[in-house]
């Protein structure tokens, strides 16, 4: 039984997209296949691994566990929308680089979304809160310690104070490379 198409309008990273889709299209497939936003990853596709995490109206959810049609009229933020502007990194993304909080990168977009959601609600989380926030995201290579370290680094008041004069992480590395 081929299902008829439904039209949805979903705001993703501040841009509104109207598309005709099959109702069975999951939100993650909509983001990746229809909008070509492939930063959100498909891991287990049944709600266990957290790789597909996105923000739905600001709250982290698993985009494999809802159909895109259910998000009609709603606003989504994906990993592509976390940085303040194109070409830059958010503090947390920068701290991930600095702390070696990623290796293969498969879980990273989900981890970043989960960490951004945490910091939006709790600007200076303690270790328990960080571990709780990423509890639904599986990493199979780096391990979790560096990810916890990255969130601590990004949210430490000392970093806040010195950031304007001292670039961190990738920006620092890039600056160093160009000096050579």
């Amino acid at each position: 039984m081929p299902s008829s198409l439904v039209t949805v309008e979903i705001q993703v990273n501040g841009v509104s997209h109207a598309k005709a889709i099959e109702p069975r299209t999951t939100l993650v497939d909509f983001l990746r296949d229809h909008l070509l936003l492939t930063g959100t990853h498909v891991g287990c596709e049944h709600g266990v691994c957290g790789a597909c995490s996105v923000l739905l109206e600001g709250d982290p959810v698993r985009s494999c566990c809802m159909f895109a049609v259910q998000a009609d009229g709603m606003s989504i933020t994906t990993v592509e929308g976390l940085a303040p502007e194109r070409g830059s990194l958010s503090k947390i993304q920068d701290a991930f680089c600095e702390s070696h909080a990623l290796q293969c990168g498969y879980c990273t977009s989900g981890m970043l979304v989960a960490c951004h959601a945490l910091v939006a609600q709790t600007p200076q989380p303690d270790e328990t809160q960080i571990r709780d926030a990423i509890g639904g995201n599986l990493c199979r290579c780096t391990g979790y310690q560096q990810i916890v370290n990255a969130v601590k680094l990004a949210t430490s008041p000392t970093l806040e104070a010195r950031q304007p004069t001292q670039p961190q992480g990738r920006e620092a590395a890039v600056a160093g490379a160009s000096d050579d």
């Binding site: 439904v6 069975r24 999951t26 497939d29 709600g47 566990c65 809802m66 259910q70 959601a117």
Partner: protein
């Protein structure tokens, strides 16, 4: 791993939802949070031809708190309940249970009613509902309203008393009144957030001398449905909750269960875990009552 095609219907009102269920019967499935249903559809364990979305009905999202009752609309998000301090005060056991339910991403979508109707025998919220003997309110277009207690609602694994054309609209949770009420929820799972291998919940009321006035206990994950043990709970009443009575009651409860066996835990191990979890829960709750 992709769902089979279906027709999507967004319910515009409760009446509209009931009309849809009446028309399509078993071919239709109501979706609330979808945290179990969407994966089941992706694996084609569920294959409804009509998906009825009841997420946008504000009347199913209300929480009303009175002196002896908390009423929750079926599609109230688990995260909403988790973040509600007034619900915490009225229903500490629900707060304790939610700490074990999935992860923040799943609780942001998952609903109270969805968890109850899905009726996974290892799920935490059905156990809390069974221990407190919550009342579930069902409605169908043909036969109207009916209320059913949690002890009669859960019939087996993923199997409840909900009829094909019925929809769960809300849940009434009894609130115990008075001083000295303590609760505990204990669980063992392969990973935090997974469904339990064995879980235990209890709610106690003790007087200033540490004598138990009222008790409710239950076990999850060790039978086809969550189990409450009202007769065993009565053995605690009038007693000081010490180690020996805790062990005796927990052991007796575990012996009454009929757990399944799987790769992770066989029948005897699950029963053993059940006794340990209930012992810990009762000790934790009685410890708090002395503070």
């Amino acid at each position: 791993m992709k769902a089979a095609p279906f027709e999507y219907i967004l319910a515009e009102s409760v009446d509209h939802a009931l009309e849809c269920l009446n028309q399509h019967g078993m071919d239709a499935k109501a979706i609330a949070g979808g945290q179990s249903l969407v994966p089941m559809m992706a694996m084609r364990l569920a294959r409804p031809s009509v998906l009825l979305d009841i997420n946008r009905l504000p009347e199913l999202k209300q929480i009303k708190i009175s002196a002896n009752n908390v009423s929750m609309g079926a599609t109230t998000r688990q995260r909403t309940i988790e973040d509600d301090a007034e619900v915490h005060d009225a229903l500490p056991l629900v707060r304790d249970a939610l700490r074990w339910v999935g992860h923040v991403q799943t609780r942001n979508r998952g609903t109270i009613g969805g968890s109850l109707v899905h009726a996974d025998p290892s799920a935490e919220l059905p156990l809390a509902a069974t221990v407190l003997n919550a009342t579930l309110h069902l409605r169908s277009q043909a036969s109207g309203d009916r209320a059913i207690s949690a002890s009669d609602f859960f019939l087996g694994p993923m199997f409840t008393a909900t009829g094909d054309t019925e929809c769960l609209l809300g849940i009434d949770w009894p609130v115990w009144s008075g001083e000295g009420i303590t609760t505990a929820f204990e669980e063992t799972a392969m990973r935090h957030g997974d469904f339990a291998m064995a879980s235990a919940a209890c709610q106690l009321q003790t007087d200033a001398d540490g004598i138990c006035l009222r008790a409710a206990i239950g076990l999850g994950g060790v039978d086809g449905a969550p189990r409450a043990f009202p007769e065993l709970a009565l053995q605690l009443v009038g007693q000081r909750i010490d180690t020996s009575i805790v062990r005796e009651v927990a052991h007796a409860a575990a012996q009454q269960t009929e757990p399944g066996s799987d790769l992770y835990a066989d029948v005897e191990y699950r029963r053993h875990l059940a006794a340990v979890m209930l012992t810990r829960a009762l000790q934790k709750a009685s410890l708090h009552s002395h503070v």
